[in-house]
Protein backbone atom coordinates (compact mmCIF):
# COMPACT_ATOMS: atom_id res chain seq x y z
CA UNK A 1 0.00 0.00 0.00
CA UNK A 2 1.53 3.38 -0.97
CA UNK A 3 2.37 5.82 1.77
CA UNK A 4 -0.35 8.38 2.40
CA UNK A 5 1.31 11.80 2.41
CA UNK A 6 -1.85 13.86 2.20
CA UNK A 7 -2.94 15.88 5.20
CA UNK A 8 -5.39 13.77 7.10
CA UNK A 9 -8.45 15.69 8.13
CA UNK A 10 -10.53 14.26 10.91
CA UNK A 11 -14.22 13.69 10.36
CA UNK A 12 -14.61 15.08 13.86
CA UNK A 13 -13.44 18.50 12.64
CA UNK A 14 -16.87 19.74 11.72
CA UNK A 15 -18.57 18.53 14.88
CA UNK A 16 -15.86 18.13 17.51
CA UNK A 17 -15.96 15.43 20.16
CA UNK A 18 -19.50 14.72 21.29
CA UNK A 19 -20.63 11.85 23.50
CA UNK A 20 -22.26 9.77 20.77
CA UNK A 21 -19.45 10.43 18.31
CA UNK A 22 -16.73 9.35 20.74
CA UNK A 23 -18.64 6.19 21.67
CA UNK A 24 -19.23 5.46 17.99
CA UNK A 25 -15.56 6.02 17.32
CA UNK A 26 -14.48 3.38 19.86
CA UNK A 27 -17.12 0.92 18.65
CA UNK A 28 -16.13 1.44 15.00
CA UNK A 29 -12.39 1.14 15.63
CA UNK A 30 -12.85 -2.08 17.60
CA UNK A 31 -15.31 -3.55 15.09
CA UNK A 32 -12.81 -2.89 12.28
CA UNK A 33 -9.96 -4.41 14.28
CA UNK A 34 -11.85 -7.60 15.09
CA UNK A 35 -13.31 -7.93 11.57
CA UNK A 36 -10.05 -8.99 9.89
CA UNK A 37 -7.96 -11.99 11.03
CA UNK A 38 -4.81 -10.28 9.76
CA UNK A 39 -5.23 -7.58 12.44
CA UNK A 40 -5.50 -10.01 15.32
CA UNK A 41 -2.46 -10.99 17.36
CA UNK A 42 -4.08 -13.67 19.53
CA UNK A 43 -4.90 -16.70 17.38
CA UNK A 44 -7.98 -17.66 19.41
CA UNK A 45 -9.86 -14.64 18.05
CA UNK A 46 -8.87 -15.07 14.39
CA UNK A 47 -11.82 -17.37 13.78
CA UNK A 48 -14.23 -15.38 15.93
CA UNK A 49 -14.46 -12.37 13.69
CA UNK A 50 -16.83 -9.47 13.93
CA UNK A 51 -19.48 -9.19 11.22
CA UNK A 52 -22.36 -6.74 11.19
CA UNK A 53 -25.59 -8.32 12.43
CA UNK A 54 -26.65 -10.96 14.91
CA UNK A 55 -24.43 -13.66 13.40
CA UNK A 56 -21.23 -12.01 14.61
CA UNK A 57 -18.92 -14.27 16.59
CA UNK A 58 -17.86 -11.40 18.82
CA UNK A 59 -20.36 -8.80 19.97
CA UNK A 60 -19.05 -5.22 19.94
CA UNK A 61 -21.51 -2.53 20.88
CA UNK A 62 -22.46 0.53 22.89
CA UNK A 63 -23.46 -0.10 26.52
CA UNK A 64 -26.73 1.76 25.94
CA UNK A 65 -28.00 -1.01 23.63
CA UNK A 66 -26.35 -4.01 25.29
CA UNK A 67 -28.22 -6.45 27.51
CA UNK A 68 -26.52 -9.47 29.18
CA UNK A 69 -28.62 -11.99 27.21
CA UNK A 70 -27.23 -10.64 23.92
CA UNK A 71 -23.74 -11.89 24.78
CA UNK A 72 -24.84 -15.57 24.80
CA UNK A 73 -21.77 -17.86 24.71
CA UNK A 74 -19.64 -15.54 22.58
CA UNK A 75 -17.11 -12.95 23.72
CA UNK A 76 -18.26 -9.35 23.83
CA UNK A 77 -16.82 -5.86 24.01
CA UNK A 78 -19.09 -3.27 25.58
CA UNK A 79 -18.20 0.43 25.26
CA UNK A 80 -19.40 2.87 27.90
CA UNK A 81 -18.79 6.60 28.20
CA UNK A 82 -17.80 7.91 31.60
CA UNK A 83 -18.40 11.42 32.89
CA UNK A 84 -16.60 14.26 31.10
CA UNK A 85 -14.97 17.07 33.02
CA UNK A 86 -14.16 20.68 32.22
CA UNK A 87 -10.54 20.76 33.22
CA UNK A 88 -9.06 24.22 33.13
CA UNK A 89 -9.48 27.75 31.98
CA UNK A 90 -6.96 29.85 30.15
CA UNK A 91 -8.41 33.00 31.75
CA UNK A 92 -11.05 33.56 34.40
CA UNK A 93 -13.80 34.01 31.80
CA UNK A 94 -12.38 31.42 29.35
CA UNK A 95 -11.86 34.20 26.83
CA UNK A 96 -9.13 35.80 24.74
CA UNK A 97 -9.00 38.14 21.76
CA UNK A 98 -8.53 36.53 18.36
CA UNK A 99 -6.29 37.88 15.58
CA UNK A 100 -9.40 39.34 13.91
CA UNK A 101 -10.31 41.22 17.07
CA UNK A 102 -13.20 39.01 18.15
CA UNK A 103 -13.47 37.69 21.66
CA UNK A 104 -12.62 34.01 21.46
CA UNK A 105 -13.92 31.46 23.96
CA UNK A 106 -12.20 28.25 24.94
CA UNK A 107 -12.64 25.30 27.25
CA UNK A 108 -10.33 22.36 27.89
CA UNK A 109 -12.05 19.02 28.48
CA UNK A 110 -11.12 15.57 29.68
CA UNK A 111 -13.26 12.56 28.86
CA UNK A 112 -12.94 8.83 29.18
CA UNK A 113 -14.51 5.64 27.93
CA UNK A 114 -14.35 2.20 29.50
CA UNK A 115 -14.22 -0.82 27.24
CA UNK A 116 -15.54 -3.91 29.03
CA UNK A 117 -14.12 -7.17 27.67
CA UNK A 118 -16.59 -9.95 28.51
CA UNK A 119 -16.38 -13.72 27.92
CA UNK A 120 -17.68 -16.95 29.50
CA UNK A 121 -14.20 -18.11 30.59
CA UNK A 122 -11.64 -16.23 32.67
CA UNK A 123 -8.65 -17.05 30.47
CA UNK A 124 -10.54 -16.08 27.32
CA UNK A 125 -11.48 -12.77 28.94
CA UNK A 126 -7.87 -12.00 29.81
CA UNK A 127 -6.82 -12.78 26.22
CA UNK A 128 -9.60 -10.59 24.82
CA UNK A 129 -8.49 -7.78 27.14
CA UNK A 130 -4.88 -8.15 25.99
CA UNK A 131 -5.90 -8.02 22.31
CA UNK A 132 -8.02 -4.94 23.00
CA UNK A 133 -5.66 -2.92 25.19
CA UNK A 134 -2.65 -3.59 22.96
CA UNK A 135 -4.61 -2.31 19.97
CA UNK A 136 -5.71 0.84 21.81
CA UNK A 137 -2.27 1.48 23.30
CA UNK A 138 -0.26 0.93 20.11
CA UNK A 139 -2.54 2.89 17.80
CA UNK A 140 -3.39 5.55 20.40
CA UNK A 141 -0.90 8.08 18.96
CA UNK A 142 -2.50 7.68 15.50
CA UNK A 143 -6.00 8.18 16.88
CA UNK A 144 -4.86 11.23 18.87
CA UNK A 145 -3.38 12.88 15.79
CA UNK A 146 -6.13 11.91 13.39
CA UNK A 147 -8.96 13.03 15.65
CA UNK A 148 -7.06 16.17 16.70
CA UNK A 149 -7.18 15.44 20.40
CA UNK A 150 -4.73 16.89 22.90
CA UNK A 151 -4.27 13.50 24.48
CA UNK A 152 -5.45 9.93 23.89
CA UNK A 153 -4.12 7.41 26.31
CA UNK A 154 -4.79 4.01 27.74
CA UNK A 155 -4.76 4.61 31.50
CA UNK A 156 -6.24 1.64 33.30
CA UNK A 157 -6.66 -2.11 32.87
CA UNK A 158 -8.82 -3.46 35.67
CA UNK A 159 -8.52 -6.82 37.37
CA UNK A 160 -10.32 -9.87 36.03
CA UNK A 161 -13.71 -9.92 37.74
CA UNK A 162 -17.06 -11.60 37.53
CA UNK A 163 -19.83 -9.73 35.79
CA UNK A 164 -22.56 -8.72 38.21
CA UNK A 165 -25.20 -8.53 35.46
CA UNK A 166 -24.43 -12.16 34.45
CA UNK A 167 -22.31 -14.15 36.89
CA UNK A 168 -21.62 -16.84 34.25
CA UNK A 169 -19.34 -14.33 32.49
CA UNK A 170 -16.06 -12.68 33.36
CA UNK A 171 -15.05 -9.10 32.65
CA UNK A 172 -11.95 -6.90 32.39
CA UNK A 173 -12.54 -3.12 32.24
CA UNK A 174 -10.12 -1.07 30.12
CA UNK A 175 -10.22 2.72 30.44
CA UNK A 176 -9.01 5.18 27.81
CA UNK A 177 -8.89 8.92 28.51
CA UNK A 178 -8.71 11.75 26.01
CA UNK A 179 -8.40 15.50 26.25
CA UNK A 180 -9.39 18.23 23.83
CA UNK A 181 -10.10 21.91 23.73
CA UNK A 182 -13.10 23.60 22.20
CA UNK A 183 -12.77 27.14 20.92
CA UNK A 184 -15.46 29.33 19.43
CA UNK A 185 -16.32 32.92 18.61
CA UNK A 186 -19.60 34.69 19.14
CA UNK A 187 -20.38 37.27 16.45
CA UNK A 188 -23.38 39.09 17.79
CA UNK A 189 -25.73 40.76 15.35
CA UNK A 190 -28.68 41.01 17.72
CA UNK A 191 -28.60 40.78 21.46
CA UNK A 192 -29.72 37.28 22.54
CA UNK A 193 -31.15 38.94 25.62
CA UNK A 194 -33.56 41.19 23.69
CA UNK A 195 -36.64 39.18 24.68
CA UNK A 196 -35.72 38.81 28.33
CA UNK A 197 -38.01 41.11 30.29
CA UNK A 198 -38.67 41.38 33.99
CA UNK A 199 -42.40 40.90 33.40
CA UNK A 200 -41.67 37.57 31.69
CA UNK A 201 -39.30 36.45 34.45
CA UNK A 202 -41.68 37.33 37.26
CA UNK A 203 -44.81 36.03 35.52
CA UNK A 204 -43.99 32.58 36.89
CA UNK A 205 -44.35 33.84 40.43
CA UNK A 206 -47.48 35.96 40.02
CA UNK A 207 -50.56 34.85 41.90
CA UNK A 208 -53.58 33.99 39.79
Amino acid sequence: MPEDRTTQQSNLCSLGPRPQIMTGLFVSLLQDHFADADNIEHAVFRDRLYVAGEETKILIEDATVWTPDRTQKRPAIIVKRNAWKHLKRYTLANTGVTEEGYVGHSKVWRGSHTIFCVAPKGGETETLAAETYLFLMRFGPVFRQYFQLLQFELVDIGALSQLEEDSTHYVVPITVMYGWDETWNIRQHVSPMRDVRLSRIFSTYLDD
Binding site: L87, Y90, L92, L150, Q151, V155, A159, E164
Partner: protein
Protein backbone atom coordinates in the same frame (compact mmCIF):
# COMPACT_ATOMS: atom_id res chain seq x y z
CA UNK B 1 -30.77 -35.42 54.61
CA UNK B 2 -28.42 -32.86 56.08
CA UNK B 3 -29.48 -29.27 55.69
CA UNK B 4 -26.30 -28.30 53.85
CA UNK B 5 -27.04 -30.84 51.09
CA UNK B 6 -30.12 -28.90 49.99
CA UNK B 7 -28.24 -25.60 49.45
CA UNK B 8 -27.39 -24.70 45.88
CA UNK B 9 -23.68 -23.96 45.37
CA UNK B 10 -22.90 -20.30 44.87
CA UNK B 11 -22.33 -19.09 41.32
CA UNK B 12 -19.95 -16.43 42.63
CA UNK B 13 -16.26 -17.13 42.33
CA UNK B 14 -14.84 -16.65 45.84
CA UNK B 15 -11.53 -15.34 44.48
CA UNK B 16 -12.86 -12.63 42.19
CA UNK B 17 -14.57 -9.30 42.71
CA UNK B 18 -17.91 -8.63 41.04
CA UNK B 19 -18.08 -5.72 38.61
CA UNK B 20 -21.29 -4.13 37.40
CA UNK B 21 -21.16 -2.35 34.04
CA UNK B 22 -24.11 -0.30 35.21
CA UNK B 23 -22.47 0.93 38.40
CA UNK B 24 -18.85 1.01 37.25
CA UNK B 25 -16.86 4.26 37.45
CA UNK B 26 -13.21 4.85 36.52
CA UNK B 27 -10.67 4.91 39.33
CA UNK B 28 -10.71 8.48 40.77
CA UNK B 29 -6.96 8.46 41.54
CA UNK B 30 -6.12 7.52 37.96
CA UNK B 31 -8.41 10.19 36.56
CA UNK B 32 -7.03 12.81 38.95
CA UNK B 33 -3.53 11.94 37.81
CA UNK B 34 -4.39 12.33 34.11
CA UNK B 35 -6.23 15.57 34.88
CA UNK B 36 -3.11 17.03 36.48
CA UNK B 37 -0.97 15.91 33.54
CA UNK B 38 -3.33 17.49 31.03
CA UNK B 39 -3.53 20.72 33.07
CA UNK B 40 0.23 21.06 33.20
CA UNK B 41 0.77 20.13 29.57
CA UNK B 42 -1.67 22.64 28.03
CA UNK B 43 -0.65 26.27 27.54
CA UNK B 44 -1.73 29.08 29.80
CA UNK B 45 -0.76 27.52 33.09
CA UNK B 46 -3.18 26.54 35.80
CA UNK B 47 -5.17 29.77 36.04
CA UNK B 48 -7.47 28.64 38.80
CA UNK B 49 -9.67 31.48 40.13
CA UNK B 50 -8.09 31.52 43.60
CA UNK B 51 -4.56 31.76 42.25
CA UNK B 52 -5.65 34.32 39.67
CA UNK B 53 -7.18 36.50 42.40
CA UNK B 54 -4.02 36.31 44.50
CA UNK B 55 -1.80 37.25 41.57
CA UNK B 56 -4.11 40.07 40.59
CA UNK B 57 -4.17 41.48 44.11
CA UNK B 58 -0.40 41.19 44.40
CA UNK B 59 0.13 43.00 41.10
CA UNK B 60 -1.82 45.99 42.39
Amino acid sequence: MAETDTKKPSTKNPFLEMISIKKWKPDPETMDSVDQTLKRATPGGDAEPDQWSKDYTKSR
